[in-house]
Symmetry: C2
Subunit: 408 residues, 2 copies
């Protein structure tokens, strides 16, 4: 049995719905990867009684708990007081923490307000968690069954403290047997088509198969037991990836960590020193926006009227033959510009179709490279922002397929 872990989020802004609690999901994913079973998330506001009650509940229920929020300098920040009251521990002044908090202000040429002093008060027996990322140090302590860690609720600070201090501590305090997760990321193929392809492959009963469709990709997840042999793991994952063919743009879980589609394309473009010019229609700037700051993207343009774009480029638009039109646009831009590749995205469908979530547009993507034209077509439906995002990704994915396979 894995040790159990709970997440506890403190703050009126969470409990009243002013912010979405992304910390809980982030911490849970980390904890599951480490080998904990996450049993519960709880969020409460800044009321001392509610905090005390919850702390006592958790101390007899879970092996471990990570708590976010309530460590700031204001009167709303009650975590230390709540721990002290819940478990009958006196608060003690920590001179080292106080020096750190003062230094944070000195380094920024600011004077420390008197209210920050309370951030150096910890319940007796607590281990301090130093915080180089903000003013609030965290702390850990064992109460009853549970090892509690308290960190600030600011996501960036929380993540640093978890990765640098809490994770190593938990790894040494608990006997963990983490499962191994392989994630195969695809674009251009739906979840049910993937399931059908994979159904022909035999998957051992100990391996858990799952799927996750996000706005940016479809992920096939394979969860292996702690002691599953590495070679068998790699061979199964490779077999599935091979069956999914060039729809796969990245695999997470063995080898170097991968990222999203932009990351994959950036690696390929940068290593081969290619450059790109872009014409967007349905994605309306979003494809360029996703590539912000990347050196290989030289230009993009969006023109609402295809006629007008044709006039400006001096080419004839044939709305009945979008392949020919896209090729003509790409050739003209290649001739007059500096980019190695030109990627042109057009679509069939009027403004009404584009806006209507129940209608689909047909995308025509053309990529012009040194060895000619390459093309893909897709039907994209859903709300306008989904159409926009899918259009950006599917056009970029044509470039990715070319770079990875050089044959289409």
């Amino acid at each position: 049995m894995n040790p159990t872990l709970e997440i506890f989020s403190q703050g009126e802004e969470v409990v009243t719905g002013q912010i979405v609690d992304t910390n809980a999901a982030w911490l849970s994913e980390q904890a599951v990867t480490m080998g904990f079973t996450v049993t519960r998330h709880t969020a409460v506001g800044d009321k001392l009684d509610d905090l005390v009650t919850l702390l006592r509940e958790i101390s007899v229920r879970a092996d471990c708990c990570v708590c976010t929020g309530g460590l700031g300098p204001t009167v709303d920040d009650l975590t230390s007081e709540a721990v002290a009251e819940a478990f009958d521990l006196p608060l003690e002044f920590d001179a080292v923490a106080f020096e750190q908090i003062k230094r944070f202000f000195t380094l920024r040429n600011r004077i420390m307000p008197e209210s920050n002093r309370k951030q150096a008060m910890f319940p007796k027996g607590a281990e301090r968690i130093d915080n180089a990322w903000g003013t609030a140090p965290g702390f850990s302590l064992q109460v009853g069954r549970c090892w509690f860690s308290f960190v600030p609720g600011v996501p960036k600070e929380m993540q640093h403290l978890f990765l640098e201090t809490i994770r190593p501590t938990l790894a040494s305090r608990f006997l963990l047997r983490p499962e191994k997760l392989v994630t195969i990321k695809t674009l251009g193929i739906g979840e049910s088509a993937i399931q059908e392809i994979i159904s022909a492959i035999e998957i051992p009963a100990q391996v858990q198969l799952g799927f996750r469709a996000s706005p940016d990709d479809v992920q096939t997840k394979l969860l292996f037991p702690h002691d599953y042999p590495e070679t068998a793991m790699n061979s199964l994952a490779s077999k599935i990836a091979a069956a999914l063919g060039d729809n796969v743009f990245a695999i997470d879980g063995f080898g170097p960590a991968s990222g999203d589609l932009v990351f994959t394309v950036d690696q390929l473009m940068t290593s081969e020193k290619y450059t790109l010019a872009l014409v967007e229609t349905a994605s309306q700037g979003l494809l360029a926006a996703k590539c912000v700051g990347l050196k290989w993207l030289l230009e993009t343009r969006y023109e609402q009227s295809l006629e007008r774009l044709g006039q400006k480029l001096g080419i004839t638009i044939n709305a009945d033959d979008l392949w020919a039109t896209a090729q003509a646009i790409a050739s003209e831009i290649k001739q007059t510009g500096d980019a190695d590749f030109v990627l042109v995205q057009l679509y069939a469908g009027d403004s009404q179709t584009f806006h209507d979530k129940d209608q689909a547009i047909i995308l025509y993507n053309v990529l012009l490279t040194g060895d000619g034209f390459h093309r893909t077509t897709h039907s994209v439906a859903g709300p306008i922002k989904r159409k926009q995002n899918q259009s950006a990704l599917l056009a970029l994915d044509l470039l990715r397929r070319y770079l990875q396979h050089k044959e289409l």
Copy 2:
């Protein structure tokens, strides 16, 4: 005292962090607006014992609870069973629900799998919540102190069922005294500057003042008690909005509902039938992307090299005078294009500065309209994606200021 409400989210995908629980925040905001005090969010996985324990806890602790998830047809969906076991209620077959579920499949030319039959089983005494948006009906029932409502976890279905069925029921079952919230939305001024300006205005003790800085705006929030006089409320909000001047782009809470900056600009551009051409640098397509599908945006272009853009437009680039350069670009595009307005965004700072989160770029926005040039400048710091987003918003905000005030 307001009645208390808890949110209960069921699902392994929530508790293991595979998805962020946005339902809890959405429901909480709705409940707070109605006049409930939200006291707790809890998420647990698909284990019957955990569900039973939690349901019993909530039944003696809260006046009301909205539960999401666990109503699907698979073996993981245990909500009805858990309610039955927790409160010793038999499950009963609901023939009307069963007909609705069958009809959902018939309308889609699909055959209902046998497993969906369980979705028509409800604990004795429950009121069914019809679901026209999916296969899973919800249900409500009173147990102990608490009025429970159970709905599917799919956000769209959940939101429809809440707004159409649960909200009216809660409004009739509970004596609610909702507070009134006025939100003043600004761009181009920071939180501390706003606080300083407002500190000169006397705010009655019953009115709660709050601030919220998001990536897209800074919001000043005024929370008024239920019985606060309407005229006094409007007068205080107007006074604060006036003090913040043309930094205010929208006010929520009285009059017609407003939206984000794009919404405000869209209203103004559409009502005056203006059109716009755009040149983006730091926002790299994101400004156009935010305006997806809006008719008044005729074109955008992004060119990584300002030199190259100058060559293409046939104008001279003076990197030491970005105002003059931006004006020259705007004039050229106005002359050769169809748009009423041209908005040009340039920035000072090299690629290194743009990428470095600790360095700032200086934005130069120029808007060319029928009555000449208008301009704003801003310093923008932070990670590259923040710089990009702020640059998009601040350029668009120059257009908003012109449209709302026609004097800059």
